[in-house]
């Protein structure tokens, strides 16, 4: 029927009025680098795998995870998770328990026998990986995925490097370690153990390898001369932990002093307690705030009865007694002598003063530059010798397992590019999604879930794992605490809050787009985006 003129109007007619012409600024969708991803030495897409885990898609989450890191069950235990340190949620309530979720996913993969993605078709190229620690394992995995043949050699009888011989079992159960290593080996890796490479150049030539990845770690415990200390009483921490791992623990006695302030010192002291020491005392020259060891490790150690003598250095042995000197911090925070001494009854002294790398195998490679005890590398982890790459503790790094895993990945990509004659240009990184860009009001209140800790009594006497895993409920809860900083997670806020219906919803996984015919540029979508994935830009005139 004809409508009465002007008084009665037909549906849809307002769409002729393009209010977009009012706009002086336009909203645009952006992606920003989440601080967790930014901080992860292994380059994990943490937000990406948390996103999958949020909806219970654990296998999908694990698959996103192993795109970058083949050792989630291990890293979920030993990583010191810089991701959590940088997590924006820490400024809302507490950081997301990323590491715990990673471990949950890693354990789930082992339990369900999920296999790693199949390698690409064989490229016919051969790579020698020297050292089966985290860097070597990671490189092996990524190289295999790229279709390159890998020979993985290690001087020890079993694979794992420092993961096996440096990290006590109560932090990393061997079954977990074995399972994740086996999964990599199952990709078709030629494994050679009990084989110490003496000459890289010769080994490469003899095996006709197209490239070499050097990941020999830092296996030599640094020692200092302790006057009147005999070898029976003094052992370095690396050797100590290695022997424990080999089921050949040295007899240390009841009173053990550990000298040093890093994580290895804590590992040594806690291990000593488990071996029967009634006293395990750490002597460290500075105070707790300046201790390089990670705070939660310190917390756990103290909880297990380990004690610490802050601001003290070991001076000498006086018979059965260890003489230590008290220190004080000067204005710059450096320890200074006080001239005051003290004595400790000591059956054994464990030196945890850092580790050095044995680089004798490079003596034939004149081009390889060694500086400060480590091999110098390019951003793609290549040494100055073409085709020879290095990573992990043998290269300049923070010397953590996670950094090593990251090195392995970068080196594999570098090697692949080198083998293809290409340059592996570093990918462009988005700007970091800082907390000021978020609208945190929208996130539900939820403090993080604590991983259960074994009762102290139990863990002082055996090597059972100290920190338990999350239940599925907790893991799901924890995953859902992720703020998805800087990347749209399809919360529909922009779609909902636009007064002009100028946001088009493209469907699950497809995100949104603006209809600039009608967007007036009010900016509500930007203001109300929880994760800061929209920004206003001046309108082009």
């Amino acid at each position: 029927m004809e409508r009465p003129f002007a008084i009665t109007l037909d549906v849809g007619s307002s769409r002729a009025n393009h209010t977009g012409s009012w706009r002086v600024e336009r909203p645009v969708y952006v992606d920003r680098l989440p601080p967790c991803n930014d901080a992860c030495p292994a380059g994990e897409n943490i937000q990406g795998w948390l996103y999958e885990a949020e909806s219970g898609g654990y296998e999908a989450a694990w698959r996103v995870l192993v795109e970058d890191n083949p050792l989630p069950a291990i890293m979920g235990r030993v990583c010191f998770h810089p991701c959590e340190t940088s997590c924006n949620r820490a400024q809302v309530d507490e950081a997301v328990g990323i590491n715990a979720v990673e471990r949950f996913l890693g354990d789930a993969a082992i339990e369900h026998g999920w296999s790693l993605p199949a390698p690409a078709p064989d490229t016919g190229r051969r790579v020698l990986v020297i050292g089966a620690g985290p860097a070597g394992l990671s490189a092996t995995y990524h190289l295999r995925r790229l279709g390159h043949a890998v020979r993985l050699v290690d001087g020890a009888p079993r694979l794992g490097g420092m993961l096996r011989y440096g990290i006590p079992a109560y932090r990393l159960p061997r079954a977990v370690l074995d399972a994740e290593i086996a999964r990599i080996v199952d990709l078709g890796v030629e494994v050679v153990v009990d084989h110490s490479v003496r000459d890289v150049e010769a080994e490469r030539r003899d095996g006709a390898f197209d490239a070499v990845f050097l990941a020999v770690g830092a296996q030599i415990g640094r020692r200092v001369n302790i006057p009147a200390g005999d070898s029976a009483k003094v052992i370095d921490a690396v050797s100590f932990l290695h022997r424990v791992a080999d089921d050949d623990p040295p007899m240390l006695g009841r009173r053990v002093v550990v000298y040093g302030g890093g994580d290895t010192a804590l590992d040594a002291a806690r291990t000593a307690r488990r071996l029967g020491a009634t006293e395990a005392v750490i002597v460290y020259r500075r105070n707790r705030d300046r201790m390089p060891a990670h705070a939660e490790e310190v917390e756990q150690a103290l909880g297990e009865g380990v004690s610490v003598r802050w601001l003290a250095t070991v001076d000498r042995f006086d018979g059965e007694r260890l003489v230590i000197e008290k220190m004080r911090l000067n204005a710059e925070g450096f320890p200074e002598s006080t001239g005051e001494f003290e004595e400790l009854d000591t059956d054994a002294l464990v030196l945890a003063l850092g580790q050095d790398t044995d680089l004798s195998l490079l003596e034939g490679n004149a081009n390889v530059e060694v500086r400060d005890g480590v091999v110098q590398v390019t951003p793609t982890m290549m040494t100055h010798e073409r085709g020879v790459f290095a990573g992990g503790d043998a290269a300049p790094s923070d010397r953590t397992a996670t950094v090593a895993v990251g090195h392995g990945k970068r080196a594999a990509r570098g090697i692949d590019a080198y083998l293809r004659g290409a340059t592996d240009a570093p990918r462009e990184r988005h700007g970091v999604a800082t907390v000021d860009r978020l609208n945190t009001w929208y996130y539900a209140d939820a403090p993080r879930t604590r991983r259960p800790e074994l009762e102290r009594v139990r863990r002082q006497t055996n090597f059972e794992e100290v920190v338990g895993g999350l239940t599925e409920q907790n893991a799901l809860f924890e995953a859902r605490r992720c703020l998805s900083c800087g990347n749209c997670f399809e919360c529909d806020n922009c779609f909902g809050v636009c007064p002009d219906n100028a946001v088009v919803k493209l469907g699950a996984g497809q995100r949104y787009e603006f209809n600039y015919d009608f967007c007036k540029g009010c900016g509500i979508c930007v203001r109300e985006c929880p994760c800061g994935a929209i920004e206003m830009v001046p309108e082009r005139i």
């Binding site: 037909d10 789930a108 539900a444 939820a446 919360c491 779609f495 007064p499 007036k520 009010c522 509500i524």
Partner: protein
């Protein structure tokens, strides 16, 4: 351990936490039934693109929120009556209308009565599946439409009346209404004299006046809490008789606020206690929306030029204190800050 998707709902019920929970418009983690109408690409868009509301208009947003929810609740069997005002003017300038639903505008002060007539027509024709919503701004509700509204309440006519409260006559150039808060500057309450801005009066609290009629349902809501608003519309449409929904809709133009602050301001109005969000049935308060993160009124005032004379170095802390007292009184009256708060979801 379960990763089978068929187990997910059961697990979801145990894990009562959904990232953005029910605070954001949508949430893929929620069951479909718990998602908002606004998160659906199939929503009605009762008020369509191309309307001439100012940038960041809270009323345009509130109207779409409420009417789309009513459309879902009535399965699309809805008729709307509109009072004169911003909403009417910006939505239907000849030859363009933004309404995708049947819509009738008569006068400024008679929307409740017109809606009564529409509702009576549906009843007499045996088409009681078709429901009626009437809507007006605060002027059309608390001032000029007050008489017809009270009549509609008293007769308990089957109409949901929605007031979009932006605290003044914005369409005519920002003059004071009975809903304009004390101390606010409008074109007819200038910032001169000892009591700059709108004088402190007794207020005209329409939700409580509506409650005094003992009608089946009275609720307040803001554009800052969509889930709450939609749930209230749904509840209202599940009942028969006169129902009243008072929606707080910031006006960037009239309040002198940035156009992107609309929802933020609505949130602050609620979280200061200045605008209590609650619902009542048959004259008795049945539910309040607790303040999730309390804010002092100054935080709210600072963002609006209509209060610029109150804050800053040459401000009026004495007047700010009086406004704070109003907010505090609301907190007490409605119990907006319970001592113990549950973590996590607002379940």
């Amino acid at each position: 351990m379960s990763h089978d998707p068929t187990d997910a709902p059961a697990l979801d019920q145990r894990v009562h936490f959904y990232q953005v929970g029910s605070f954001a418009v949508g949430n893929r983690l929620l069951n479909a039934d718990d998602r908002t109408v606004q998160s659906s690409a199939q929503r009605t868009n009762s008020i369509d693109s191309g309307h001439r509301a100012c940038q960041g208009c809270g009323e345009a947003l509130g109207a779409r929120y409420a009417l789309d929810a009513a459309m879902r609740a009535t399965n699309g069997r809805l008729l709307a009556v509109n009072a004169t005002g911003c909403l009417e003017v910006f939505s239907t300038p000849y030859p363009e209308t933004s309404w995708r639903i049947p819509w009738l505008h008569s006068l400024f002060g008679n929307a409740p009565a017109v809606a009564t007539g529409v509702s009576a027509a549906m009843r007499v024709k045996g088409r009681e599946d078709v429901r009626v919503v009437a809507q007006a701004g605060d002027g059309g509700t608390v001032d000029i439409g007050f008489g017809t509204l009270s009549g509609m309440f008293e007769r308990n006519d089957d109409v949901l009346f929605i007031c979009y409260d932006n605290e003044g006559y914005m369409n005519t150039g920002v003059q004071r209404s009975a809903a304009t808060p004390p101390a606010a500057r409008t074109a007819t309450t200038d910032v001169v004299g000892d009591e700059p801005g709108n004088p402190f009066g007794q207020g005209k609290d329409l939700p409580r006046i509506a409650m005094a009629h003992d009608i089946p349902y009275v609720a307040t809501a803001t554009v800052a809490d969509l889930h709450d608003l939609e749930r209230k519309v749904e509840r209202a449409m599940s009942l028969r008789g006169a129902r009243y929904l008072h929606v707080f809709v910031p006006c960037p133009l009239g309040w002198g606020a940035a156009s992107n602050e609309t929802i933020h301001l609505a949130r602050l109005a609620q979280s200061t206690g200045l605008f209590p969000v609650f619902e009542a049935e048959r004259g008795v308060v049945t539910n309040v929306l607790p303040i999730r993160r309390w804010s002092p009124v100054e935080e709210y005032l600072t963002l609006q030029r209509r209060y610029a004379h109150l804050v800053g170095p040459r401000g009026r802390p004495d007047i700010v204190a009086r406004l704070q007292a109003i907010a505090d009184a609301n907190v007490v009256r409605y119990g907006l800050l319970p001592d113990e708060r549950n973590d996590g979801e607002d379940d």
